[in-house]
């Protein structure tokens, strides 16, 4: 799909959409407030969306008991522990990747 008109349309639409979300309140400030419902829902979106993105990439699209032996699962568990203890993106990525590489080298 890359290199096509369709691809650039998509990127342009994403750029425009994202910019509008960022610019909206700079533009309308004083005329509108963020509605209460939106304020309530918003914090839940990244927590839910990011978790939904992680799982299939760690466990694959049809997980079974055998999946638990996949090096990616072990590497992810280590990375989650690092993330939880340090709250550091760099250390989390490093912890997960080093575990994955070590397991690949050993197995």
């Amino acid at each position: 799909m890359t290199g096509t008109t369709q691809f650039w349309l998509l990127i342009a639409a994403l750029g425009a959409g994202t910019f509008l979300l960022r610019y909206l309140f700079f533009f309308v400030f004083g005329r509108y407030e963020v509605p209460g419902v939106v304020k309530t829902i918003l914090p839940f979106i990244p927590a839910s969306a990011l978790s939904a993105l992680v799982m299939p990439k760690v466990f694959g699209s049809c997980p079974s008991m055998a999946t638990l032996l996949d090096p990616r699962v072990a590497a992810w568990v280590i990375a989650m522990i690092v993330a939880w203890r340090t709250r550091n993106i760099f250390l989390t990525i490093a912890g997960g990747m080093i575990t994955l590489w070590s397991l690949h080298a050993l197995l």
């Binding site: 890359t2 691809f7 990127i11 994403l14 959409g17 309140f25 466990f59 990747m97 994955l100």
Partner: protein
């Protein structure tokens, strides 16, 4: 003594760059992995400038997903910018139109967050300039790191499974977001649902999971409120 507020903003961002650089490098690698040319990868990074949304979009482009679905998934992730925009707007109302445009375009979780922290520490900060300094500095570093990622993505062998850095980045982003019980309920519900529906076509599982997570979190919040007699 009188450091420019722009510089103060940029300097405040320095420690956060430890997290921004790897995340941005990963977006560059992901762009290459989904088959984009160097120009496409660099330009889309400048056009979108939103790591999580870019990673989702690249992933779905690689899967050949439908354009409308890709657009929706990325925009859903970017809805949080509405909140930041509302938070920054009062501080930017007296800035000129060019600064407001630049401030909006460069809006990021990190620049917004550091500005709010600074406001708590020093309420008398020249907020508009401090924010612009932080946001523009972050933008420059982000784009350089993305370019580095494109370069790495081209030169590092796929045996190194660099694609795995994407879920790791998301995990690193989601853990600090799970600060309250209702957010934990949302994240865990969404994670389980995503696994359950992982083999649905067109990333439908992503939307179902995100929606279930949000619903579960909000229901849990209501339940908690009622139990506390409110």
């Amino acid at each position: 003594m009188n450091t420019s507020p722009y510089l103060k903003g940029a300097r405040a961002m320095l420690p956060i760059m430890m997290g921004v650089i790897p995340m941005s490098v990963v977006t560059g690698v992901a762009a290459v992995n989904c088959g984009m040319t160097t120009t496409e990868a660099l330009l889309s990074s400048v056009i979108m400038y939103a790591a999580a949304a870019q990673l989702v979009a690249y992933e779905m482009i690689g899967n050949g997903a439908d354009m409308v679905l890709i657009f929706s998934a990325a925009i859903v992730l970017n809805l949080r910018f509405l909140l930041y925009s509302a938070g920054m707007a009062p501080h930017m109302r007296d800035a000129g139109w060019a600064k407001r445009l630049a401030g909006a375009y460069c809006l990021s979780d990190q620049a917004y967050g550091i500005t709010m922290v600074q406001l708590q520490k020093e309420p008398k900060t020249d907020t508009a300039r401090f924010y612009l300094g932080a946001a523009l500095f972050m933008w420059v570093i982000y784009q350089c790191a993305a370019a580095l990622g494109v370069f790495l993505g081209r030169s590092i062998s796929p045996d190194l499974s660099l694609d795995f850095a994407v879920p790791l980045t998301f995990s690193a982003l989601v853990v600090p977001l799970m600060g309250t019980p209702e957010l934990r309920v949302a994240a865990i519900t969404s994670a389980i649902t995503a696994l359950w529906f992982a083999d649905l076509p067109g990333n439908a599982g992503f939307f179902i999971a995100t929606f279930s997570g949000i619903t579960a979190g909000m229901l849990f919040r209501e339940y908690g409120k009622r139990r506390n007699g409110r």
